[in-house]
């Protein structure tokens, strides 16, 4: 899966799972500050990423995620090594 596919699927998840507005989502957007996703919401997003991309995201790596782009990058690393 290439980066643009990952990003598109990630945006879909943010809309479907966290109820975000599609127009607000950019790769630079910070979850907590810009998108008003609370810390539990970020945990839920990572769970959704694990389920939908079939990857394992360890807590230590999950804690570092602050922006949408970082989440996409992490998934990309997990999928493509």
């Amino acid at each position: 899966m290439d980066r643009s596919e990952i990003e598109a699927k990630l945006v879909d998840l943010l809309v479907d799972e966290l109820g975000l507005e599609r127009d607000d989502i950019t790769m630079e957007a910070k979850f907590e500050e810009d998108l008003d996703v609370d810390s539990l919401g970020v945990v839920e997003l990572l769970m959704a990423l694990e389920d939908n991309f079939d990857v394992k995201i360890p807590d230590e790596e999950a804690e570092k995620i602050t922006t949408v782009g970082e989440a996409a990058e992490l998934v990309s690393q997990k999928l493509n090594g």
């Binding site: 609370d38 539990l40 945990v43 839920e44 769970m47």
Partner: protein, 248 residues
């Protein structure tokens, strides 16, 4: 009471006493009950047989709930065989009573591990499933010892008071996701744990109980079962004291 529900319920320390009564009540309500035990497999199998005897569904699952790896294995096992845990009853508990002057660190550590650390470990282990479901019930057994303190039970009282704080904090963390977290604090209930105190001690306590008698495990289970039901959807972070008026 609510209609029958085929939810998966995990009851820690479910082989006897209050845990057994809760397991039986939840099974009657239609839940698939995982009856956790640490050492007494026969007693756990007996609970399972009793539940199956009245048409319920139950499985006995061994694990020391104070141990991180054991809890991870326990929840994995239950979730792969029965499904995600929707109702968690943190009931497992032990006593190692002594005056603090004589209390060995081991007696402190074991009681904190089995009675309090277990609540953290089990709640954490089932949380992903509850978040996914956007529904969950966690009910933990505290004690009047945790509310008022019992001489000779500094370790037990600390653990049981800790459960009340954990309950309040966790309820705030997950309340927005349809998960409620509550505690029940029993007084003197007729179980193996209180029988160990001896008849003289029980008689002395009964004099102080407003209702004039010890409680039964079923009377505690009724409160636990209520908090675990849909009916209790607007109650969270609370500790319900079930002590026959002992601490009024």
């Amino acid at each position: 009471m609510s209609e029958t529900q085929e939810r998966v319920a995990l009851v820690t320390g479910g082989s006897r006493g209050i845990g057994r009564a809760v397991a039986e009540l939840l099974a009657v309500r239609g839940h698939h009950v995982a009856v956790n035990y640490v050492s007494n497999q026969d007693a756990a199998e007996e609970v399972v047989a009793a539940i199956e005897g009245v048409g319920g569904i139950a499985t006995a699952v061994q694990a020391d709930v104070g141990d991180e790896a054991a809890v991870a294995g326990l929840v994995e096992n239950v979730e792969s065989t029965l499904g995600p845990v929707a109702v968690l009853i943190n009931n497992a508990g032990i006593t190692r009573d002594d005056l603090i002057l004589r209390m060995k660190p081991d007696a402190w550590d074991q009681v904190i591990a089995t009675n309090l650390r277990s609540v953290y470990l089990c709640s954490k282990a089932v949380m992903r499933g509850m978040l996914r479901a956007r529904w969950g019930r966690i009910v933990s057994l505290s004690s009047v010892a945790g509310v008022y303190g019992n001489a000779g039970q500094a370790n037990y009282s600390a653990a049981k008071a800790g459960i009340i704080g954990l309950t309040k904090a966790l309820s705030k963390e997950v309340g927005s996701r349809g998960i409620t977290v509550n505690a029940v604090a029993p007084g003197f209930i007729a179980t193996d744990m209180t029988a160990a105190l001896g008849e003289a001690a029980a008689d002395a306590v009964v004099d102080k109980i407003t209702l004039g008698r010890l409680g039964s495990p079923q009377e505690v289970a009724a409160a636990v079962g209520y908090l675990a039901s849909d009916d209790a959807s607007y109650i969270t972070g609370q500790t319900i004291v079930v002590d026959g008026g002992l601490t009024l």
